[in-house]
């Protein structure tokens, strides 16, 4: 569970002191909805975004779901690829957000590191045609991309191999690295694997993602086989 009711209320109270134009619009035992606007004043790469965005924030309570945010004034172009049809913003992969908050979710940090930079990326992209910090591929590719980055590997296949090792094996630093470099694991990708294998919370995120990836990949392969058969 990301939030129990008491934690959610406590964190919302803090958030409202940071963003004075947000108010609680709805609250029950399953969800809190904040509504209003935020002023984003952030800078990177010689560009500053200083703009106000009307938004709603949904904070699920007693659930494993992450909070979501909707931009309510259509200030983001309909064709911008990082927004869902219902208007909610695709801030990051769940993997990246869950890994960031493996030790407990913090709404204020989530706003600072995910929500505000989302608007920054959008405006920067509109101005310069380039994502300032990059973007994730859609769907499964985005999850794999997150692990490639976490584990410092170029190839999605290697990322899966390393994830399998996280899920199924004990860490043995002296064995050859799974990336095929010929070096010992601890001198190669061990330093990136080790935190995932020794921290139970991080490990459970990785294992659950691996299950999801396996399931999705096998159903993808199955549907490919079905198409081949019908041909």
């Amino acid at each position: 569970m990301i939030f129990d009711y008491a934690t959610a209320i406590e964190q919302v109270a803090k958030l409202l002191t940071l963003y004075s134009k947000l108010t609680i619009k709805e609250a029950d035992l399953t969800m809190i909805r904040l509504s209003g606007s935020i002023v984003v004043n952030r800078s990177a790469f010689n560009y500053t975004l200083h703009k106000e965005y009307p938004i709603d924030i949904f904070i699920p309570i007693g659930s494993e779901d992450l909070p979501t945010v909707i931009e309510t004034a259509n200030m983001i172009d309909a064709e911008y690829p990082h927004r869902y049809r219902d208007g909610s913003l695709c801030l990051e992969t769940e993997t990246a957000i869950r890994m960031r908050f493996f030790d407990g979710f913090n709404l204020a940090t989530w706003m600072d590191e995910f929500v505000e930079p989302f608007f920054f990326s959008y405006e920067y992209y509109k101005r310069f045609g380039v994502f300032p910090f990059g973007e994730r591929p859609h769907g499964l590719g985005g999850i794999l991309h997150t692990y490639q980055e976490l584990l410092h590997v170029d190839n999605p296949g290697t990322a899966i191999t390393l994830l399998r090792y996280v899920a199924d094996e004990e860490y043995r630093g002296h064995q050859p690295c799974l990336c095929g470099s010929g070096q010992k694991l601890r001198k190669c990708h061990g330093k990136f694997l080790f935190p995932l294998m020794t921290n139970l919370k991080k490990k459970s995120i990785a294992v659950s993602d691996l299950h999801y990836l396996r399931k999705e990949i096998s159903s993808l392969e199955q549907s490919k086989r079905n198409i081949a058969k019908t041909k």
Partner: protein, 409 residues
Amino acid sequence: MISIFDRQNDILTIVSQLDISPTMYKNAVEKYKALAAFLNDCGIDADFYPQGSFAIGTVVRPCYKGQDASYDLDFICQLHFSRDSVAPSELRARIEGALKSSDRYGGKLTKCGECFTIEYADVNGVGFSIDIVPAADESNQKKHELKHFSERPDLIETAIAIPRQDGDRNYSWLTNNPRGFKAWFDEINQPFLEHHSFERRNKYLNEHRTFFDSVESIPHELDHSAMQRVIQLLKYHRDHYYQCLPRKDHDDIKPISAIINTLVADISRHTAPTSDVFSLLTFVLNTLDIYAKQQTMPYDDFHEQYKGWSALTRGSGLWRIQNPANPEDNLADKWNENPAIPEYFFRWVHACRTDLIDSMQLPDDKFRTQIENAFGTDAVRNCLGDLKYGNSKSKPINTLSASKPYHAL
């Protein structure tokens, strides 16, 4: 909220910081006159005259990698004979020989394809260089051909032929017509220049009392009409925008000044010369927005809907910005080789509107952010100080660990 009038004035003040100063102007004139006299003494009978921004009064101090760079002024050294009577290599060699023989210029000389560059010592900390472009009068036959294809045959008489060195021993003639361009530009600029001329020159006089004692003594190159100011604003904005563009090729895809000069002048023909700088800027950007439709709209549809819109076209899928004084010169040639150039040109036009027009409606602190995006924090701070329009510090994003937008399926 600080008024739109004050905001516009502040933007103009920031841009005027990049004007060529009276000292710099005087220095440039002295230098080029000395050069002309020297070449004359060497037996080279030539007209020596400025081309480009110095000729049409739109000089903006250039910027290179975030630093102020040196002024780079172009001069044509046009010998008094036709290209028929000399080989391109010979013409180049004559000018080069004369310059190299000089103690004064020989050591400062570098060669490029069409010109010789002389680097001067800094004046008051500002670097300065002169490009000398050798030229001969264009041949009569060529002029005849050009007139045939030109919409303004009256401008062609001043066409010149520039010797170009493509390789060690490879030379060719390149046709150009800077005097024709200046005549075309001045003709459009004249009514803009006349509007509020006395008030403008008087203001300039008051700001530069130490240099000039009367309105009449201000050289016309230092006086800027609304149209010239629009060009300077756009050039300055362009320099900063492309320098911030996170692409390695940002200098290669930046629109050349000749494109800005031509488009602004051409578009300005269709509005009142009594326009102030920001009304004219709005008109120019609105018009460019219409031209931008050609990125996706078939040319025939565009042509049908916008009859007579000819400054920037895309017939047969090829971008074209006609040099009004040279029918052989498509200023958008490179746009057709590299699609990133038009793509970014129109992105930049959009950014100009956001920063210079739409920003007028923003609260003070957000206006300040927008003009800092437009011209750079330092340029704005140097001109307006730290506090004008409020001082709301932005929080930097950690670029190494910043989140990346995603889209689940």
